[in-house]
Symmetry: C2
Subunit: 496 residues, 2 copies
């Protein structure tokens, strides 16, 4: 065969053909490469179906037919084999682990039963099984208002829409137990028409209003935290808003810090309960996760809850949000390591080191609060007056509020260790004030020396000390689980 | 002119000439580009002179002739107009700002005078002027050993080399004041032959040995922190090592944490002084900067002291280490922003937020320690026995150690806010124990109720409360500055 340059020398137009031909082929290769990289675009066209289910569909499985990946990952919130520093993995009994909690919550249901939360999948099941909310029996109403269901079930948005917010909250569990049965799910965070993130719990919208803000102006990235903040926040039940209704309120009017919320509760003279030993008018912090998160480094860098707890994953050509909400420590590759180029072991060590340091301080506060309650109990026994005790009880309230705010949040000691440490430090200082004043009161009644601690080395001993009849509570729960709950789950109204 | 392709058609060799010629030109362009980018290489050849000064040359200006950029930047440590949150910029009087410190240090020289440090440039000048180290007069020896000079002057390496380590430490200021006159500088961190970083202070080498480590195995990056750790550490003077010598020791044998070092001092029953009011056998933390830094995020990421406090800068074709050691907040562009892509304001806010939170807790600890000292003083007045007070005084020692460890370091609340917060929390808990026990002791002597605090609202009032004769101290200092110091600076021996 003759060399190509000789052929071209004879037929110059052939050179042009080769040149232009090459250009065209390279252009087509570019198109192909782009098409390969952007193949997700095809997926969108291929897999977006017309939705045919109702606006407030509570059944996650129905949504799952249209969004199988998200649904399948959501179902993995049923997994309970996650990494746990406590060794155990399923429903760690926090009172068994920290019997001091029983004393701190004497007179409040948390002293009865408090277990580590499991995934959203178990939101209803764990509530049914817990001894904490008590047990409605046949013909015996629940001690708890329907307000408690608000953060547990995907039936809530529909029911609220149907009967109104206050009417939803009205009454006790037994009156709506048959209508609130599905655990948290799709409809709680998604608009069923656009799939956009949406706020379905009015308390958060109202809390924004109380601060003079408009939640509808939140950006998409903010929404990736705010849908979580519908429930993972500090809240209380206000009975002054609607006659006979325990209305769900986030106490954010004066700000979101531990001091702001304390000021809010103080100025309305609110307390959740009176302590069984010290008679202090206490506040129970719920789980101020969002409030504490906001004070941390990740929030400051614009990282949302979903970025770490629901990181993007890829399956085939599709990149989607992992709906297996869980500890990022269980998925360091997709969460932490997207930004942090350190190896897994080092990242874990970092997290644990923060947690350990905070836990060490928290323990000091806990010990002092337990002693303060026991010492106050002693002071009452010796005949201390309301006047002598007033300031002391307020100090105990204030210190325990700080302890609970720091301890109750999920992940506070990681989300914002410096703020959490600050809160605990101040709590220790205040608990100290209470105990020094108590030492003086006790001395004025002739009691000098250390008030001995009762034996509270186990949950059972601590519960017995504060006078709980656990056998009765367990028997009542058995009746509820065997007789009442099956009715609810069949959607049947209570017999009464 | 005829088109080039027609010419080439006639003379095919011309095509080859054009092709090869182009390749050669492009290659040369590459060489040129590389040469422009790498022009620093020329600088190295052009500016590396043969050094002619002695191995332990103490005069920074002599080194400066060979390394003008480093020297000029070192000279900027004389600048005192740095960013200060206290408003002032020069030698902030910490006792004026925190009169409580006077009470905490009653009986110890820090209660006399304690000012914010200035740059290395002033290491000697500020020491001369401070009332804290007392004032040698003509014929009157200094109360302080020569060990104190160790971290202040570039004359130290040469003098130690000449007379030996222990002999350097031996005796009081007046005996070596005329030989130690230059402030910290080049020779303190650099080997004058290779310019490599080097450790010139034996205490750090010995501290590594006490931990079973060999400092000569440190990497260059570790050395970029260790040269600072020659002085920015916790230390004490041990009089048991060499007869009549206050030997400088870093108490690291059992580890570097606040608990490890406390254990070290406890096990040798060491105390720096007995408190003037409470009679507690106290420890004075120096500045455990390096120890706390090691527990923080930056150390965990391999960032050295020099990376932030002496970042690289460029001048013309040269990139060199800025020897203006200073707060990185004064140079955020070259320090923080090399890694952190946030704007200056946001970074400042981050730092301040950490500092504020830690400061808030530290204040609680301070207040409680002041009260503990005053309450212990009261207990002694009422006739408390050594036995009754022993445990209380140990608690005070332990709590104040934590306070001082957290407070004395430069930048602890930024370098490692979680560890610093932990230390303070535990300190508050221990101070509380002391005060509760004190309330019981006081009550047993019939004193029930709060022990009133004296008026310590200003430095002068606090110093008067602890019985300091400040006028005398100032008069003595005047004599020292006017009569003794000029002799020293002229290199003359003391008259005696």
């Amino acid at each position: 065969m003759r060399p190509i340059h000789e052929i071209i020398k004879e037929r110059p137009w052939l050179g042009w053909v080769l040149f232009i031909g090459t250009a065209v082929i390279v252009f087509m290769l570019g198109l192909l490469a782009s098409s390969v990289v952007e193949r997700r675009a095809e997926a969108i066209f291929a897999y977006t179906p017309q939705l045919t289910f109702p606006q407030f569909e509570p059944d996650n499985a129905v949504w799952g037919e249209y969004f199988p990946r998200q649904y399948e990952s959501y179902l993995r919130t049923s997994q309970t084999d996650f990494r746990s520093r406590h060794g155990g993995s399923v429903l760690v009994d926090m009172l068994e682990e920290y019997p001091a909690f029983v004393i701190l919550w004497a007179g409040y249901p948390f002293s009865i039963d408090y277990r580590q939360g499991r995934g959203h999948y178990y939101a209803m099941e764990d509530l049914y099984n817990s001894l904490r909310p008590g047990s409605p029996g046949p013909g015996k109403p629940s001690p708890l208002p329907n307000t408690c269901w608000t953060c547990k079930s995907s039936d809530v948005p529909g029911l609220m829409n149907e009967i109104g917010i206050a009417e939803f909250y009205r009454g006790t569990w037994d009156t709506k137990g048959s209508r609130v049965v599905n655990p948290m799910g799709c409809v709680d965070c998604h608009d069923s028409r656009t799939m956009n993130l949406t706020i379905t719990r009015p308390a958060l919208v109202e809390a924004f209003e109380s601060m003079g803000k408009d939640i509808t102006r939140a950006t998409h990235q903010e929404m990736r935290s705010l849908v979580c903040a519908q429930c993972h926040v500090e809240y209380y039940f206000n009975d002054q808003i609607e006659e006979g209704v325990q209305y769900l309120v986030l106490p954010w009017r004066d700000g979101l810090s531990v001091e702001d919320i304390e000021y809010y509760f103080d100025s309305m003279e609110f307390s959740d309960w009176t302590h069984g030993l010290s008679r202090a008018p206490l506040l129970k912090a719920q789980h101020p996760d969002y409030e504490i998160y906001l004070t941390g480094t990740h929030a400051a860098r614009g990282v949302s809850c979903a970025d770490c707890h629901m990181p993007f994953i890829s399956e085939g050509g599709l990149k989607f949000t992992d709906h297996h909400m869980q500890s990022p420590l269980n998925n360091i590759t997709n969460s932490c390591q997207v930004c942090h180029r350190e190896d897994t072991e080092r990242l874990l060590k970092d997290v644990y080191s923060r947690q350990d340091k905070i836990h060490e301080s928290r323990k000091v506060l806990e010990d002092n609060l337990v002693r303060a309650h026991i010492e106050a109990q002693k002071a009452w026994e010796l005949g201390a007056t309301e006047e002598e005790m007033e300031e002391i009880l307020y100090d105990i309230r204030s210190a325990q509020w700080r302890w609970d705010f720091a301890a109750a949040g999920h992940g506070n000691s990681f989300h914002s260790p410096v703020e959490t440490g600050r809160i605990i430090s101040l709590g220790i200082g205040i608990a100290q004030e209470a105990r020094i004043k108590l030492a003086r009161v006790l001395a004025s009644y002739g009691y000098i020396g250390e008030v001995p601690l009762p034996d509270i080395s186990t949950k059972a001993k601590a519960q017995s000390y504060i006078g709980l009849d656990m056998e009765r509570k367990e028997a009542e729960k058995k009746v509820f689980l065997e007789e009442v709950l099956p009715q609810w789950l069949r959607g049947e109204e209570d017999d009464r």
